[in-house]
């Protein structure tokens, strides 16, 4: 019994039953397959989170995002800068750099991206940890203060996407959202 010492003192010399051995082999091969599939996806897949990361002072990053927003803010037909809910709408150059700031409790600014264009999205936090969750497409990435994560991202569908904070960040956590718009 499992609660008594093995009767056969030399239990390690007992042969392994065929059923057990078969399953051990199948499970082992499956594990091996899953391991190699992760590597394979780096070659065959289009969804591999970039790991490019830089150390940066949170305030310095906030400055960069401000400068980026000033430079690329969308202007309407009268030449007026466009805001939505009081937040600037910013259109980074297609194929270029975009900056996105997470802070208590918003994602800033509103980004307007072009479908099918690739962006280098620079992501960091001004204060605590936050979670970038782009919905409904369901992309979820952690955001740390002091680390600037550069993500290569290419939207494949148009529309308004919600950005929701999914790392608990204090009492305003459930009010922390942002918006990414993808246009043709």
């Amino acid at each position: 019994m499992a609660i008594t010492p093995p009767e056969n003192r030399l239990w390690w010399k007992e042969p392994i039953h065929g059923i057990e051995l078969g399953w051990v082999i199948i499970a082992f091969l499956w594990g091996l397959f899953m391991f190699f599939f992760m590597i394979a996806w780096h070659f065959i897949g289009q969804q591999n989170l970039s790991t490019e990361t830089y150390r940066i002072q949170p305030w310095r990053f906030a400055d960069k995002v401000e400068a980026f927003a000033d430079e690329y803010q969308v202007v309407d037909e009268n030449g007026e800068p466009v805001f939505e809910n009081g937040v600037p709408v910013v259109r980074p150059p297609a194929g270029g750099d975009a900056y996105y700031l997470a802070r208590l409790w918003e994602f800033w600014p509103i980004l307007e991206l072009q479908k099918g264009q690739s962006y280098r999205l620079h992501l960091s936090s001004a204060d605590w940890q936050h979670g970038l969750s782009i919905q409904p497409t369901n992309i979820n990435i952690s955001v740390h203060p002091g680390y600037m994560h550069v993500i290569n991202i290419t939207p494949t569908e148009t529309g308004d996407f919600g950005v929701i904070c999914n790392e608990y960040c204090g009492i305003g956590h459930h009010n922390m959202t942002g918006r990414i718009r993808v246009v043709d």
Partner: protein, 576 residues
Amino acid sequence: MTAVNEGTYAGSGVQAEYRTCRFTGLKIERNAEILIRVNAVAAVVFLAWGGLLGLLVALTRWPAIQLLDAELFYLVLTGHGANVLVFWIIFFEVAVLYFAAAVLLNTRLAAPKFAWLGFALMIVGALMANYAVLRGDSSVMFTSYPPMMASHWFYLSLILFAVGALVAVCCFFATLVVAKEEGTYEGSVPLVTFGAITAAIIAVFTIASGAIILIPTWLWSLGLISEIDSLMYKLVWWGFGHSSQQINVSAHVAIWYAIAAMVLGAKPLSEKVSRMAFFMYILFLQLASAHHLLAEPGLSETWKIVNTSYMMYLAVLGSMIHGLTVPGAIEAAQRRNGYTRGAFEWLTKAPWGNPAFSGMFMSLVMFGFIGGITGVILGTEQLNILMHNTLYVPGHFHGTVVAGTTLAFMAATYILVPLFFGRDIVWPTLAKWQPYLFGIGAGGISLFMMGAGTLGVSRRHWDLALTDAVHAFEYPPAAYLMMALNGIFGVLASIGGALFVIIVVASILFGRKLDGPDAKLTFPLHDRSRESVATYGSHATLKLPGTIILVAIFFTAFVLYYFVNWMYLSELWLLR
């Protein structure tokens, strides 16, 4: 368990008081018995309290009810995590360790004074943590990621609790040494004890990681250290947070084997394979903090892939092996007990009315199908991005730690109470239903949280409707349905949990005393469990068609679900 022959025994100059259990033939020493009792009782108290907080959380996340206000919600959620995940589980595990060492090896508990010291530290730590949380300035979740800071009491309480647990683990190891030196068993330790040793070894590593990260964080909260790096914290913290889950797995797998042995007379198919599977946990799960960091900046792909899988998922392999050997041992035993018709008579005629068995078997099935498969999916480098920090994550671990570990511990309690308190279980009909209520409830909350997570709903989040957010976003109606169902099954699980606590407390206080010479257990142990104490090695029956079918179903589900998730991933925006 009742005493037939009380007596003192003096070995190596140490006085110890023993009695022999009439139902199992095990020799039980007084100190071991008392410490098992107090730790188990403390565990149940924290389960009751933490479970109540869990119900409040579930009712708040049910959008139509949204019971608590936001501030209280985050406070209660922090309390829920700490009380159930840490205090309930670890107190119970200490009881299991003492059982597996002192009782199963027929020996005395080494250093009972230290065991009491450990217990006292754990109690102080647990109470202090609740104090810190209830003060309202420590609603940081049990993971307490900096730079968010809790009251210094919070970190100190966890440190005290961890030190207490470490003392208990040391008493466990010392007891093994005593047993060996006094020659209280022959040959190798029983498989269940082996599983407990696995758990204890992992516990040492775990507690060390906890100390490495919590002590500086505590000093930081006192203003003595200026900064804690948020990424480094997560890395080391999960060395603690994840390995502690491996303690749970080792402990509840050991309990599966123990219950199968005690209720059905099952013995391992082969000692070698089962022990090897435990051993894999020791070798390959320590550094699994990696799969909590797949969506973080600053860590390379190679690091992520190697550390989540150790090249070939050897720890997962360990669990998959138990997934065959445990039902296999049960099938073999049941066939020997005479249930040989068809592929499944052994299962259909199993003692489903015995809560120890039904709880154990549901734990086995749900841990594998719900907790296990989803854990591998979550821990796959690229797939993680689909559900990182969504409700999928709590969905997954309610499959492992609630439907798996907690249900297994509940099942074990139905055996522990008669054995160590000498009282029979009261209200057999209620007791019979309890594992089903709790199991179905726990399975339900796991599945519905996973459903909501698949739809992108954030974990640890008070307001699904995002009412006061700057930029509105609407989750699909299905997400609301999932959260309502989660609430309903949360209520079901809570009823099951409350029943458990009431039955256990009532049995301990008012259960029929089992001291007459012909006292019988309401939920009997296996007839031959007493004689088998002296016999049995590996099992010989080799025809296990039922187990093969079950395992085949499991494997098919695993493979299909694995590829479904890759399909989801391939539809995502491109990340290159």
